[in-house]
Symmetry: D3
């Protein structure tokens, strides 16, 4: 039915490979279908100027795509000399989302830099980035706690993201790949925590609109998908996952 | 109860002054409480390169604030040499929203430039920009049709935007001013059409989250506020408003 | 005789609306014919690095036009990523002129930021900016003195600016509008103080020249126009105007 | 009396060495006291986009200083990634001035690029640039006419520039060196043609003002200095100088 | 003896994984010790302006590092808004080297874009980039020839690169890792073709020098290492390797 | 035989004029054939941030060409808003080379800025820059020592640079002018010290290659040319040259 044979409420295969890069405090390669993103978490022992002397930390994110992550080669933003609006939106979204599940007081005056670099793109790169970055962040925290540099566990809950959308023939669908995303009437990114709360909701009808009923169906689909992503995250994190707490109402 | 004495579901006073600037095809000064935005619509007789030879038009938007629109003076983006991420997000949002209610085939190979310049800011500048820009756009279309340069009416429906949020004491509130916005746990921008459909929904819990129940209450509040904005737009547009069609279910 | 029916030595109607924007220490909307400029004065409690520890203040200015202040839409300088040469010349001129009538020692280690934003342009935007900015500056000083933050009155004299030019048919004319400016052979901006001294004189014959006799006639015309502008400034400033001193030899 | 022993109305020694650089169509090294500027004129067989298909030419100028032309090393504008306001003002001034004495119709659809590079600075670099650039321009025209690429002589008159100023002790002085310029109350650049007309007049009282009487004395001094510069230009140009016409009323 | 136990003339383990990214015409992940670089070759059906209408093609390269490829996080060049001198040197080197072994006439008016993105760095990233990029380039050519878009084989010879250096204790060593590179007195990059010719030789003694004898020993070491890299390239390329020709004098 | 009649191993005429610019601590105009470069050395009483508190100095270089130093006018890098890759490579090379013959500990926490500005270009501008900059550097050191600001002589040895190349008809040639450089198969820059050691070796076969035998012949030629340059440097430096030491094995 869908271009790749999936059910309407079916995620693409998800794989999270941890410690993918040796230097960062935390790193993963997250693969969702043909979308692959390297997510790293780097801890810097200072905060940006606007945060100084408040005794709390900061989390900021950067996002980029390799030029040939996509079907057509993209010009590098470093060659253009500026970052596009799309990139800025995405990196602001990643940073904001991660901050919502971290107790910034508990990380002290440190900055956690999240880098999400898409090496292969097939739709859903921003949601995959958030889902992967959460794991990289937990691994970095684990490393710091193991090394005695951090004593309080600052992660308040799980965090994952998924896209949902409305296809003109199939209706509401979960986890759009690039072809589906290009033809969808409505595109929505949903970011949720382990206890079922929303962190961010961004629904867009480019040259189209959507009703309150469609919104409700999209949110139901998103919840299903995100629950599966939580399980993949828990498996990737390993023994340290217990500290984050129970994943309520999961049947996986 | 609220800092400025409003009811939880009460908009600030709205005023839309048309033909505020003499050169543009369409222009308004929209005032919502202490937020004031000059919105202009300029029609250019060509489309950007990626749209050429498709027989259809394009709508794009730019947004800026005067340096002293705010309590603290902001550095001009022209002095910095680059546009901030926040500005880029907002101008992409304005352009995307307006395109959703315009039949781009009917405007021919033309670009409509929307400029939203905030001269005084007190919260809700992006939603005021969209609400005002819609009127400027309709006035520009009217001018072109009156002048015989355009023969088909391209506006498909009304478009307005409002912010809603969750205050930790008061709960869900409509149309946040700057003080309310700064302390709100959840901030949501809702953009809707005259027939009650969503065009864009952006809900953010910076360092906070929100439940499905809260989402539903926020959407109800937003619908109320947007209905009032439609009436203000209809009054500003004048006789030409009939062409856009009925505003269903309005009691105002 | 002139395109808008004025006498050769007649200013366009001048109006200065004070406290136009609520946040800045001082602000005006100055209207001269169809030219409208928002001028604000913002006081910052520090000076730029090259002025530190000298016990005196600094005044600097920025100038910009809304994209559709003009007949043809201009590309924003923030989008271009750089400020044009014309803008730089104008903002340097505004800052330099204002500094000539302010005793910088008396404002202490503070920077006064002048922002001149043209919202509608019809010739003479730089001279209107200077004339309006002077009033905004005085209002900001008044606010600081009333609030007890400043004890010595630092304004030494009135300051106003006007353009004069040579039309190939009409000869020397005062206060050129856009059409006149476009076709003038010679364009001169004159900036003077209340006691009849020059602060700045910039005469340009783009692809033309002018004689010593023409120069003298232009300067006479400019003095007439500036005297009227001083009266408009005095009225706008109100009771505080007495502190600046007498306006000598005025008949208005 | 003056720091370098000159009379109040005395120019520094002027020397113009022609064909200083081998590649450009015209080039000079102009030396005025310790100020040394390489001026070149390059002819390009096309005009900028805004001038196309009008059958006439364009003249544009660029100005720069070597980093160590000055007492303190300046950061290169190429390293900063942007050109300063001062540089932009100067290069606009040079281009505008030269265009006033050239019949652009007679040079056809060509651009003449003027480059003024200050290799040693001691005050008056912008006026020396204009005086030298005029000679480089004439030499380039001569080369084109000798080579049969141009048949009508496009230079309408001589053009030279000088600075004058007001010293608080000495009063009005001609051709300020760097020390004099730094301490002058008033600084004025005067650009004139061979027949005694003004092309540009820029008088500035940074934190000071000047009277109508002072203006008149400054203009008299400037005329004296410029007459001497015309003679130096005529000598440098050689036999071709006759085409430009008589230098009226010169006694040198 | 060496920090990682290698012999002085021993390469680190080399692995070249082909078709690593799905979209580009050719792609590899090259691993040399802990240095990992994704190299892609993208074919664009046009050449840059300076190459048009000459009937021949062009090869150009871009190089970048993920921010956390290194021990300390690097600021992204897209955030800085400009590409560093080091990056420019490397990308010019990669492009120039590849062009030396390709018959540009045989690829027609096409550009081959080489992208080398270092995902993990441990010394020798520029030489690994060249060695990997050569394979990506051959794979892209293979794809185009298989698809009938190219009929003549344009690759003239193998191309590989290696670093050699002088350690103050050990003397001349092959294939420096990051620690060795940081402490070496002399660092030399050698790029050679399959028939034993040099394409590029860059030897640098930062705050040190080297003798003619040392140069000769370094070149001998480099030839040894490059011969091994040719074998790794041949294995990665597979059956298509025969078209490139014999690898003379190899014992591997 | 060669386009300008030189022998294969013959340098173009070399002239080094000292104290060419009055402000810098050291300055020369170096002329090699028709290539002319102004080299200055400026001493700043601080080091860049990454060098602070180490008790040692730093040497950094900048390189630029006047727009019309070349046959075709080049766009200024300040107008482009960025420095090209070629310029960055050259300035890094100049700085690195000079640092190799200076004992940075002996200059204290100071930065020596080297500026090389090409006023006329005919091939070999980067090697002429290095050869000239060495002299400017020695003169600046001399000035500081004479003035008592420096007590230890920090220059360890002579430093000069030359280009060599392979012409398809003539074989190996010394000191290529622009025409030779444009048509050479191989281009190599060699930088050596007075005691015959290499500092930098950069050989490039753009779309060509070179053998080990050719490399050896090129290095022999380079040594010959550099020995002559050392003599020209010694003559320019004057009595202070003795401090640098003997120039071994010179027959000139």
């Amino acid at each position: 039915m869908r271009v790749d044979g999936r059910q309407l409420n079916e995620l693409r295969p998800v794989h999270i490979e941890t410690e993918y890069i040796k230097h960062p405090e935390g790193s993963v390669l997250i693969t969702i279908g043909d979308t692959k993103v390297i997510c790293t978490a780097s801890i810097e022992e200072r905060v940006p100027p606007f945060m100084r002397n408040q005794g709390k930390g900061w989390i900021t994110a950067e996002y980029s795509m390799l030029p040939r992550a996509t079907e057509q080669r993209n010009i590098r933003e470093s060659s253009k000399g500026k970052v596009t609006g799309r990139t800025m939106e995405i990196q602001r979204l990643i940073g904001r989302s991660l901050r919502s599940v971290v107790d910034l007081d508990k990380i002290g005056e440190r900055t956690i830099w999240i880098d999400c670099d898409v090496i292969q793109a097939d739709g859903g790169t921003r949601t995959a980035s958030i889902t992967g970055a959460f794991v990289a962040l937990v691994l970095a925290v684990e490393k710091y706690m193991s090394g005695g540099k951090l004593d309080k566990f600052p992660i308040k809950d799980y965090l994952a993201a998924v896209s949902v959308g409305v296809d003109s023939n199939l209706g509401e669908i979960l986890d759009l790949n690039y072809i589906e995303d290009s033809s969808a009437n409505v595109d929505m990114n949903v970011i949720m925590t382990g206890n079922g709360q929303f962190v961010e909701l961004q629904g867009t009808g480019e040259e189209a609109t959507f009703s309150r009923e469609q919104l409700n169906q999209l949110l139901d689909l998103a919840q299903e998908g995100i629950n599966e992503l939580f399980l993949a995250q828990r498996n990737a994190i390993g023994s340290f996952a217990d500290k984050i707490g129970e994943l309520p109402k999961m049947e996986g």
